[in-house]
Every structure is written in C-alpha cells, then in structure tokens.
Amino acid sequence: MKTLRLMTVGGVLAYRALFNWTRPAIFVGTLLVGPLFQLLFFAYLGRQLQVADDRFYIVGNAVLTATLAGVFGGTLAVGNERRYGTLGHVLLSPRSRTAVFLGRALPYAGNGLLIAVVTLSVSAALLGLRLPAAAIPGLLLAMAVGSLACAFFGLTLGALGLRFRDVWVISNVAVALLLLLTGVNVPSAALPGWMVDVGRFLPVTHAASAARDLAAGRGLAAAAPALGWEALVGLGYAILAAVLLKVFETESRRTASLETI
C-alpha cells in the first residue's frame, strides 16, 4: 500500500514539478494542437495516395499521439532531475527508487490518454469519421494500454539519461521511428519484414491494431489478443526501465557522474 502511494503521489508531485509547459495555452498548443496536426498531415497524405481509408489513419494516429507525452515525459522524468540538480536527492531517498521512477510514468500515461482521446474526438469530427458507440469503451481501453506502454517505453529511454549526456537525441529519434515502425502510417503489408518484426516489440503497434479492430465494429473479443500483446510490451519496458535505472544508478554512483550534464 505504501509503495502504491509512493508511486501515485510521488508520480503526480514529480509531474507537477518537472512539467515544463505550465501555461494552459502552451499545454493545449503543444500537447493537443500539435498532435492533431500530425494526424491531419498523415490523414491527408493517406487520402491523396489512397493507401488506406480515413479510419486507418485517424484511429492509428490517435493512439500514436500518446507517444508525445509518454516518450518525452519519461525522458523528462529522469533528465530534468539531472538538469535541475535534484537527481542526487532522489537517489539518496531511502525508499525504492524503482517504485519512485515507475510511478513517474503513470501521470504521463494519463496525459497520453488525454491527448489520444482529444485527438481522436476532434479529428473524427473534422474528417467526418463515425465510430460505433459500442466501440467507445474498448477504444478507451486500447488507448489507455497504449499510453501506459508508451510511458514505460519513455521511462526506459529516460533511464539512458543516467548514462548518456544527451538523451534528447534518443527520444527525438525514437518518436520519429515510432511513426515509421508501428504500422500506424504505413500498412504493415507495405513495410519490409524486419521493420514489421521490430514494430512488434514497440509500444502502440498492437494498441493501434486493436483500436482499428474496435473502430471497425469487430468487438472486444477480436481486439483482445492485440491488447494483451500491447500490455506485455508495456510490462517488458517497465521491467527493462527498472533494470536500467538500477544498473545506471549503481554505475553513476561508482563513477561519481550523477550530476554530470
């Protein structure tokens, strides 16, 4: 119970303290308007090239937009502690750092879900996509699982911030690669086999597939396997993040490089 409290309360406090976009206008612009235009860009490109229909792009990209909060949030969760000189204090805490840092991912997952929901709603209204009402709970579940997987993926990248100086390069490249490898914008059949294989181990891939099944009215039973895979991918990244954080923390203490920027 104490660990759960540490994860949730600690995560929310860290989110409020480290979150850079404190003004509502900038929050809306960066996290809601930006992703919406990303979706519109690919939806219009897909329309023009006639690669797939609007539903493919709207639903897939709506799930993908959670990466913005998840990946950059996860990176911020560790990177900003170092930047603001508070990393040492966190690592000196007598509580489990694994719980502290895993808790950091939770608000970003919620943030990612908010972005995905808003992006899906607004883009569906703008582009005239009708979603079956029965699919809404399932879509929310798919977006929530996808957002959580993204947040743990981001935390894994953030963990690299304990070892590498410029973690922003990694997170920016990762976000770009997710556009390509998750099959959100290019149908898997049109991608080389190795890209599809890599995509299976990335967040969003399975959540987007599940969301598309649900939006097509195929029901939760049809989407359940993909949702299960997405949850497994998220769990995998949570474990990887915890291991990397532990290893890099030990290494940083050994080499006295905690606060090195």
């Binding site: 308007v33 860009f41 023009q48 490249v173 149908p187």
Partner: protein, 251 residues
C-alpha cells in the same frame, strides 16, 4: 558581418551532436516513411519528389527549432543581453542565427537525397538541375528570414521552444511539402499563399519534376524580404519593450 556571423553560428551548430543527429536521422526516417507510403500508393515515379519533400521538411524543422532555440539558448547561456546590447541593429545580430539554422537544415536535404540514391536507388534526375540548386539556396535563405520573423516573437516568450512544437506539422501540411495543396480544404489556400515555405516547396518540386520554377522562386524571395522587413521592425519593437520592462532575460 552577416556572413561572418552566419559562418560562426553554422560552425557552432555543426558541432552540436544533437543538432547534427536530428538534422540527419529524423529526416531520413521521415523520408523512409514517405518512400514506403508512395510505394504503397503506387506512386513510385514520385519517389524523388518524396525525398526532396522530406528533406525540405527537415530544413523547416531546423529553422523552426533553431529560431526558437536560438533565442532560448542565448537566454540560458546569459548572452542574450550582450547580443542585444551590441552597437548594431538587432536584426544584424539575430539574422545570422536564423540563416544558419536554414544552412544546417541543408544537411537534411542532402541526407535524404543521398539516402534515397544509395538505399533505394532513386535516380537524381532533376528536370532543371541548375534551377534546383538556385531554388534550394533561395529557399534556405527565405526560411532563414522567415525564422527571423518567428525569432522576433520568441524574444518575448519564455516557453518559445514549446510553441515551436505546435508549428512543425501545420507548416509541413499547408505548404504542400509532401501533401499537395489541392488535397487540402480550400480555406487553407490563402494561408499557404502567404508562406514562403509554400513557394519554396513549389519551386523545388517544379525544378524536380518540371514546371515554371522562376516565378515560384521570385514569389518565395519576395515574401522572404517582407519577412525580413517585418522581422526587423518587430525585433526592434520587442527588444525596446523587453528593455523597458526589464524582462529580456526573464521574458
């Protein structure tokens, strides 16, 4: 002074692993995406156009984040006041930074073309090769001047780098860098018409696939000169305002 300033900033940016990696890797990923999309849409004959479009997207990202980041970086380094105190017009000090971001953006254009040629065998058969080079140079300078206009507004904003995140995709979309403007809603037309990025993208596309390149180059240059004039006026205004309010370093 402009040339030396630009050279100094290009050198500085080129030594940043972050700037160089982002300028090289991200556009290549986007160009890969564009190639597979164009292939899936049975538009193999437009792959060169896709590579050029993706490269230009990289140039815009470089200018956008560079212009936003340039001011912010000076602010973080504590050098913004010194720059603004220089006995020169502010435009002469800031323009080299924004033009330099356009020049470092050419890494993206060159990278996507080289990547397309080497990995996907895209033949660099430009219909007007000379016009392509001229259009690319004009486009980069024009984007640098557009960056100046953006930078002048960023002086007043503490979180300018956050605003830049919002402007990346809209400009890619509306300027027709990959998506033809004709595929967009009609109301986006007037917005596209006043953006130098639209005419720069059009000039590069016409030089690549054929068409009247020079009118697009001329319009791009004309709009960019207007950006320079408005940017200069705006920069002088916001600089005075920031000095009067003593918020230059804190804005």
């Amino acid at each position: 002074m402009l040339a030396l300033g630009t050279l100094a900033h290009v050198k500085q940016m080129s030594r940043s692993p972050f700037e160089v990696t982002i300028a090289l890797v991200v556009p290549i990923v986007q160009a890969t995406l564009a190639v597979y999309l164009f292939r899936a849409g049975h538009e193999q004959h437009r792959l060169l156009q896709a590579a050029v479009g993706a490269g230009l997207m990289g140039v815009w990202s470089s200018v956008l984040f560079g212009s936003g980041g340039a001011i912010q970086n000076q602010r973080w380094q504590g050098t913004l006041e010194m720059i603004m105190l220089a006995p020169r017009r502010p435009v002469l000090v800031i323009l080299p930074i924004t033009v330099a971001t356009g020049l470092t953006g050419t890494y993206a254009l060159l990278a996507t073309l080289a990547w397309g040629r080497i990995l996907y065998g895209i033949r660099l058969d430009f219909v007007h090769p000379f016009a392509f080079v001229v259009a690319a140079v004009v486009c980069i300078v024009a984007l640098g001047m557009f960056g100046l206009l953006l930078a002048s507004t960023f002086v007043l904003m503490r979180n300018a780098n956050a605003l830049t995140n919002t402007l990346e995709y809209p400009i890619w979309l509306v300027s027709g860098m990959l998506v033809p403007i004709t595929a967009l809603p009609a109301w986006t037309g007037p917005i596209a018409a006043v953006l130098p990025t639209t005419w720069g993208a059009r000039a590069l596309r016409e030089a690549t696939t054929g068409g009247p390149v020079w009118p697009s180059v001329a319009v791009c240059l004309g709009i960019s000169v207007l950006c320079l004039v408005f940017g200069s006026i705006s920069l002088t205004y916001v600089e005075r305002r920031a000095r009067a309010a003593a918020t230059l370093a804190l804005a």
